[in-house]
């Protein structure tokens, strides 16, 4: 199934793109999707992130559904 991944700040700059689609297994979790992404883009700095599915914070164990939007959220620094 296809999910979309949103990239911000340093992650966006590392890949020079703000989103990408990933074809993941039906049983995929945030964690397995990240492992797949790391294999595709070994230089992507994937430590210290928070995760959101469809704009809600989730943990690495959360399961993904088709067309979910998975956001990789580096340490925020608004304000």
């Amino acid at each position: 199934m296809i999910i979309s991944i949103r990239l911000f700040a340093g992650l966006r700059e590392a890949l020079n793109q703000s989103s990408l689609n990933l074809d993941v297994a039906e049983t995929a979790t945030v964690g397995t999707a990240l492992a797949q992404l790391a294999e595709l883009h070994p230089k992507l700095p994937l430590t210290g992130l928070a995760y959101a599915i469809n704009r809600q914070y989730v943990t690495l164990e959360a399961t993904l559904q088709p067309n979910d939007e998975l956001a990789l959220i580096p340490p925020v620094s608004g304000g």
Binding site: F8, A9, G10, A52, A71, P74, G78
Partner: protein
């Protein structure tokens, strides 16, 4: 005017002030987080903010509701700017109306602390030496 907004436009205090005013309020607090000319003593040329805007606005709404319950304040409005900000420009604007001032002071401090933890917005310092850095990310 939306009460919770992530925008590239220059932030305007007066419309937010009007959004939170109410005949039962004795206190209005307006907080502005402003682009400063230095960070930890290092000279800043300008700032750049990036957001996950749909989620950031949702998070601002949630924080405001939580503050209303926790502190008993009245109306709240929060705008956050994104894009390039020159020194002295406002990055975030919080307006709170409240029957009593103590609750408003406590709530505005809490809201700013929370914004810096849970709202998906990122600041990039562009230093005067030409280099840049996403704050909190190495």
């Amino acid at each position: 005017m939306q009460a919770f907004l992530v925008t590239e436009a220059v932030l305007q205090p007066e419309p937010l002030r009007q959004l939170v005013s109410d005949p039962g309020h004795g206190a209005i607090v307006l907080f502005e987080g402003v682009a400063r000319n230095n960070f930890g003593g290092r000279a800043t040329a300008y700032l750049e903010y990036e957001a996950y805007p749909e989620m950031a606005e949702q998070q601002l709404v949630l924080l405001a509701r939580q503050a209303q319950v926790q502190f008993g304040i009245g109306k709240v409005a929060i705008h956050h700017r994104v894009g390039v900000l020159q020194i002295g420009e406002t990055a975030v604007l919080i307006a709170i109306g409240s029957a009593h001032r103590g609750a408003a002071f406590a709530a505005v401090a809490w809201l700013m602390d929370q914004i810096k933890v849970v709202v998906p917005i990122w600041k990039c310092e562009h230093w005067t030496d030409g280099s840049q850095e996403w704050v909190g990310q190495r």
